[in-house]
Structure formats: C-alpha cells, structure tokens
Symmetry: C2
Subunit: 459 residues, 2 copies
C-alpha cells in the first residue's frame, strides 16, 4: 500500500506554508508541491524594493529555492508544471510539463489549491509590447528591473491607483523615473480610502512630482517595433511615455476549481468552510484564491494579503494532512487591513470605508481629524485619521490613516479594536501611551474617537 | 441665594481638565481653581525636552497661563494658594496665600481634589545643596535648566531608573552631560519590565556611554558651600559628580484628604468610586492622587499618567458640576501602559510584567522574541518583544517592547487586546499589516504570539 499523498498546487506563499505545515502534521506522507512557474516561496510584496534598485539581486526575495525547500521539508517540488484538470472522482490531476510539453496524471489522497491571483489586464490595454508591464510574479519583477537597467530614466504611466499601482509609483520614483498615475475614479486605493483621505495622498503625490490624473486608460499607441508611444485616456488625451505599468486589479485563479465542479463565488474565489475545505471532498483551498469571511459583517470576500496566505496555508496544510483525524484547525475571520508606503508617506486602512460600509447597507458615521505624530514640542508630522462607526451599535467598523509617520503601526490598534467588537467608547477609553518624542499627549486615535462621540451625541 | 460654587484643588493636568469640563457641564456655577504653585496647565512629561535645551523657553510647556485659562473657561484661578485643611462638615477650605501669608476660609458646594503626586526623596538623599535636583514641577524644570545654562557640561548621577530617571538620562545626555545611572535593583523600569527586557535597555545605555550601576545611593557628600561632591552607594563607592537627580519615586499628595477623613489606600492614593466620588459627600478626586481600577485583576492602584489625569479630570469635573443630576460619567478601568524614549531607543510596556503578575498571584507564562521593525530587505532595527499570558485562560495580561523603531506604537495594539480580554489566539489571529519598509511579513507581535502558543501547547 503506497504512502498517503498530499498534492499542493501553487508555490508562492500559501502553497509552501501548506506544504511545510502538512509535513509538520504528518511526518510520513508523500508531499508534492506543483508550481507552474520557475520560482517558489518568494516575497511578492517586496518586489518593488528590488525594482527600485535597492537589492543586490532577485534572490533576496526568495525565502527558499526549490532544492532547499524540498530538502528542508522532505517535499517533492515540481516546477514549470501546469495543472490542466482536476478529476475529483478518481482523485487525479492532469498536468503538463511546460519545458517538455509532456502530459501525465498524478493521483492524490488530499489536494490543496493555492493557485493565487493573476494581474487582470483589460482588453484595451493588452498590447504586444515589451514596454507594457504587470507586477505580480517574480518573472514580472525580473522583466521590470531589466527594463530599468537598460533605461535608467524615462517617463512611465501607471494605470491604476490601488496597492500595486502605488508600489509601482514608489519603485519607479526611487529608480529615478518620472511617473504619471492614472486614477480612473479620481481616487487612491478606492476600496480602502474615502475621498477625503485619498485627497491627502493625491496632495502628497502631486507635491512629490507625480502627475495624478483622474482619467481611465482606453488604449495604447504602440510602434511597429513594439515600443510604447502613448497611453490614450477617456479624456481624449494621449500621454506620451516610455513604459506602462498596468495595475488595474487582480482575479483569482479559480478556473481549475470551477472546471472540477468546486463551488466558487460569482465575483471569483473558491468558497471554503472555516477549516478551508472546498465543496468537493479531499480538496482544500488557501491563499489569494480562497474567499474568507469578514469579521464585521460575516460576508465572504477576497483579501489577497500575504499574512492571510501564510495563515490559511498553515490551516489547509494541517487539515489536509490530518484528514478527519483530530480537531481541525480553523481559519479565523479576517479584517481587511493594509498599509502601503510611497516615498516617506504611509497610507493605511482597516475594516470598512464609509463608502463601502454604506454600500453594504451599514448605517455609519465618519469623522476626519488632522493631528500630529508626536508632541508639538518635538519633531512631528501631520497625521490624518478617519474613523467609521456604526450609528446604532456605536461599534468601530473602519479606520484610515495617512501621514509621514505613525500611520502604519496605528492601524493595527484599530484592527485589534474592530476584531473584538469595540465601541467608540472603547476606542476613547484606550490607554494610549504618551511619549512626547513618539506620540502626543492626546493620540490622534483618541482625538478622532472624541470627535465621533460628539457627532453621535449631537454635542 | 449665591451661585453654586465648585472648587478644584490642583492646577497641573487633572485640575484644569476638571475645571474646563465643569464649565461645559454647568455654564452658571462659580468655579475656582486653587493651585499652591505659580503655574497651571503645563506638560510635565515634556519638561525633559526643555531641559535638553530643545525649546525656546519654558512657556512652550504651558498650555494656558492663569489669565488665559480664567478668561477662556470663566474660572477664577488662585495661584500660590495652599489648602491647609478641608472641613467637610461645613464645606469649607482653609487656605493660605503663600505670598502674603494671610489665611482665609473658602466655602464650596462641590470639591474636586487633583493634588497630584510629589517626588519622594529618601532621607539619606535630602541634602541642602542646589545641585541635588528633582523633576516633578515646572519650577524643578526651571532650576534644572538654569543649572545646565551655568554649566554646559559635567557629570551627573541619576538615582533611580524609572520613567523620571530615564527622562533625566535622556535630557542630560542630549544637553551634553556625562551620566551615571544608579539602578538599585539592577533593573530599568522595574515595575514594567522583566529582567530580560531591562537587560536590552542596559545594553543600549552602556553602548551609548551611560554608566549603569546596580547600586543604591546611601548618602551624599556636600561641601560646606553647598556644592555636591559625590554620591555614596551601598557598594561602598563614592561617585564623584557635579549634579544629582533624585528620581526614586513619587508619592500621592493625599495628606489633605486623609486629614479630612477621606478614605485612602495604605500605599497612598485616594479611594474613589467609578464616578470618582470619594468616601466623603460632595468631594471628588482625579489625576495622580486618585487610585484607579485595573482592567485585568480589578485591583486598585496608582497610575500616574497624563492621559488618565485628563480623562479622570473630565469625569470628576462633570460629575461635580452636575451633582446628582443626570447619568454620571464613569472613569473606565485602566491598563497600565507607558512608553519612554531615551536617545533613539523606545521602551514600552503594558499590563502586567511576568514578575508583577506572579506577585499578584496570577499563573502566567512569558516568551521573549527578537525580531525586526521592518523587512530584512529594507532598513530595519532589531525589536525585542515579551508577552505575558495567563496559563489557564490563555488571556494576554502584559507586553513589553524595546527597540529603536516601532516599540511605542505597537504597545497600543497590545493594550487594545488586553482591554478586550483577548486570548493569545486573538493576538495570533490579528490582521497585522505587512509593509516591507514599515513592518515585516510576520509582525514581531505575531511571532511572539506563536512562541507563546508553542510553550502553552508544549510543542
């Protein structure tokens, strides 16, 4: 009788976490990690540092290469191996070796899907040009850096003002390129920031020499030799440029799961239980391709964040290895919290923005406060805070921070409060530290909480 | 019939907050703020910045001078007025004007005691020398700065390694003085930090040229003309010096309350209800002289922190103004959280240390983790974390952080978790932001939580 075999598909973040945890949970199983690309276990979020030219090589982004991962965790790693089909009835995968083109069938006892997301490039921006880039895989980063190595300066248009777009702006600016950012909604990080906070970011970007335009890219002008010439926009403009970064969003790689009859959300993403089982027996899902449950509303959504990938990978790997034996691990509900840095600006949000909360049917109130990162008697920076609170329950449902100091770390405090169902009174009652050179007597979060209380109490 | 009269004793932080809030709650009462010194409404915590020479004048520490406070809040401010006795039966104070020596009786309808704390100087260190200083009042700061203006350099011995001692070390070092710190227990911030974390601070101080000695000061050598010559220690040493800062702790100024029959703790501090009423009708207490209730254990303790002073001042002021009318404001329970900066080092703690928790009878476990403030691919600093968790309930009861970046702000996140009764699973489940240049993929708090789980689960 052969050993139990656990197959994990996807090698960036969740997959390796699942493989390592499966090994810890089960020393004897055979574990196979299948990856369609050439790299595993890398820090996609740190690619902008490499692109900016601040690392010695792309290797610094790789936590484990395939050989060392295989050796350390006793896992068979198969690179450049694309899964074309899952057959849940016979528990087989049909895979294709990208280098040789040969196909084979691989059986499994337990399957973990960690296929992640891909950059979504609208049809109008799909051009046969080596100057139109995306930023999702390590290969993207190599291409991007290679481009900057050849042309140390130029003008880039970044299409899309979410995390990836801002990462691109940061990397390109640090690398010495001039940058135009197309924010089609006129908003920065529109899913996380309300307009008032987005405007602070626009102001900083503009002051830093980044041209921010509230336009949508409608097409590309590419010369016959494949060079990009311009980006066309819905304002009828032609923006001449030497490079385009398309950062118009991501899509879960859930087609493999859909084709196998695994339940997926209409908006994309595999539906999972809190033990990360899919709708099909013996198949688990984790990482960006899985949909998680929101702490605040209990709704299910895609939250492509590295820590969720790692956390869910560990849960799926353990449960897949243990099968029905023992108490399963559970994926906690999540708060969507993220922080981005652009130059010396910190941008952070957690939970629901005012606009998103309203769209979700919550009756909310918000307050904006401008305060300082430290005492006025010490070096300090302005810090903008916005809190969002549900009117009736007075519960904190979201927070946003923008400033050149102390924004990113403060967001974790708000996330902790949101997770635990804190009311605005709890936000006000918190024992914020006061350290003149590090935090003002009245912390910006304390001041913002007071402001919300005044609004709610009509005083 | 005369207007209702509210008298508030003590003008540093809690007193002015109480007076301002009493005025907001009651536009018509007569409000009198009585202060024995010459200053009100100043930021005692920022005096080290002034002493270091980083401010233009002592005025930058004063939020309101007496005249502007009186005008803004319609409050009569009486400076240099010492309350000698409270007569609760007839609702009178006996006061003495320090400048003229005249005594008078002042009646009140409602009395708020915000008499604060004073520096405690052991008998052996009470010397008639203008080179032996304390650091509690604005007058102390003026004397201290005057001393440094006369002698821009020299050797100071700081006796005591709590907040005030560290503030003194920071100010003196920035001012260009050589410093020896006597930490009698061999520990830095012994009530907040366990030995392992204290040792990181000692290492940093030593590396920065501060001599840290685990000795107790037993006496002073003063020349006949009042100059300090040396500090004697229990190791039989004589440490020659030009100045001594005595920072051996504080004591609540509760004698006035005790003499009036108001209940006080044996250890010092006025006993109050959660509406900040004392045991005597029509008398409230707030600020450092009042004892507050700990979130974790429900025990009552002294927590001399500026935010508590402000918060409790507002509660006492409102309740004193409203008397029995309407729903009273309540002082929330508190978590003892504080952060101090010395040079570029951040030291922070919240809740209970391992040693203090054990002394209080809690069965706890602790873990130390050394991690980084940001990704290893970006500029980063080491960050030391210690978490303390109650074994049976798995609840977080304390946290300590020491490092050159990100310690102070992370402590608020732990405080939020402690306040809400979070378990170590909640600390692990938190959605920490990952922003390579600002926070590593696995936040130090996340890593420390995992470490505690391993210890608790014996894995």
């Amino acid at each position: 009788m052969p050993r139990k075999r656990i197959v994990i598909v996807g090698g960036v973040a969740a997959g390796p976490a699942a493989a390592a945890e499966a090994r810890r949970a089960d020393p004897s199983s055979e574990i196979i990690l299948v990856e369609k690309g050439s790299d595993i276990s890398y820090s996609a979020c740190e690619m902008p540092i490499y692109i900016a030219g601040d690392l010695n090589g792309v290797d610094q982004l790789v936590r484990f290469d395939a050989a060392s991962f295989a050796g350390r965790f006793d896992v068979m790693v198969r690179l450049q191996t694309e899964v074309e089909r899952i057959d849940p009835d016979t528990r087989h995968l049909e895979v294709r070796d990208a280098s040789t083109g040969t196909r084979e069938r691989i059986w499994y006892d337990a399957l973990v899907l960690a296929t992640g997301m891909r950059a979504h490039v609208p049809a109008a921006l799909q051009a046969a040009s080596h100057h139109v880039l995306t930023l999702r895989s390590l290969e993207d980063a190599r291409v991007f850096r290679g481009r900057l190595d050849r042309d140390p300066t130029g003008h880039a248009v970044v299409v899309g003002a979410g995390y990836v777009g801002l990462d691109g702006v940061d990397a390109l600016s640090r690398a010495g390129w001039r940058v135009t950012l197309l924010a089609s909604s006129g908003r920065i990080m529109a899913s996380g920031l309300d307009l008032s906070m987005s405007d602070h970011v626009v102001q900083w970007l503009t002051g830093s020499g980044v041209a921010v335009r509230p336009e949508r890219a409608t097409g590309l002008d590419v010369s016959p030799d494949g060079r990009i010439k311009a980006v066309r926009t819905d304002a009828g403009e032609r923006i001449g440029c030497d490079m385009v970064l398309v950062a118009t969003g991501t899509r879960p790689n859930d087609e493999l799961a859909r084709d196998a009859g695994i339940s997926c959300r209409d908006e994309g993403g595999i539906v999972v239980t809190d033990t990360l089982q899919t709708s099909v027996p013996s198949i688990w899902a984790c990482g960006d391709v899985a949909a998680f449950t929101d702490v605040i509303t209990g709704t299910v959504f895609s939250v492509p964040l590295a820590l969720n990938a790692f956390r869910s990978g560990r849960v799926a790997g353990r449960n897949a290895a243990r099968g029905g034996r023992g108490r399963p691990r559970r994926m906690p509900r999540v708060v969507h919290a993220a922080a981005v840095s652009v130059g010396n600006l910190e941008i952070a949000h957690t939970g629901w923005s005012f606009d998103e909360a309203r769209r979700a049917g919550l009756d909310v109130v918000a307050a904006d406060v401008r305060h300082r990162s430290a005492s006025s008697n010490a070096p300090n920076r302005p810090l903008h805070v916005r809190l969002v609170v549900e009117k009736k329950s007075r519960k904190l449902v979201g927070g946003q921070l923008v400033g050149q100091e102390g924004a990113a770390q403060r967001i974790n405090t708000l996330t902790a409060l949101i997770r635990t169902g804190a009311t605005i009174e709890d936000v006000y009652a918190l024992d914020y530290v006061y350290t003149p050179r590090l935090a003002p007597a009245h912390d910006p979060l304390f001041v913002a909480a007071r402001q919300i209380q005044k609004i709610l109490d009509g005083s």
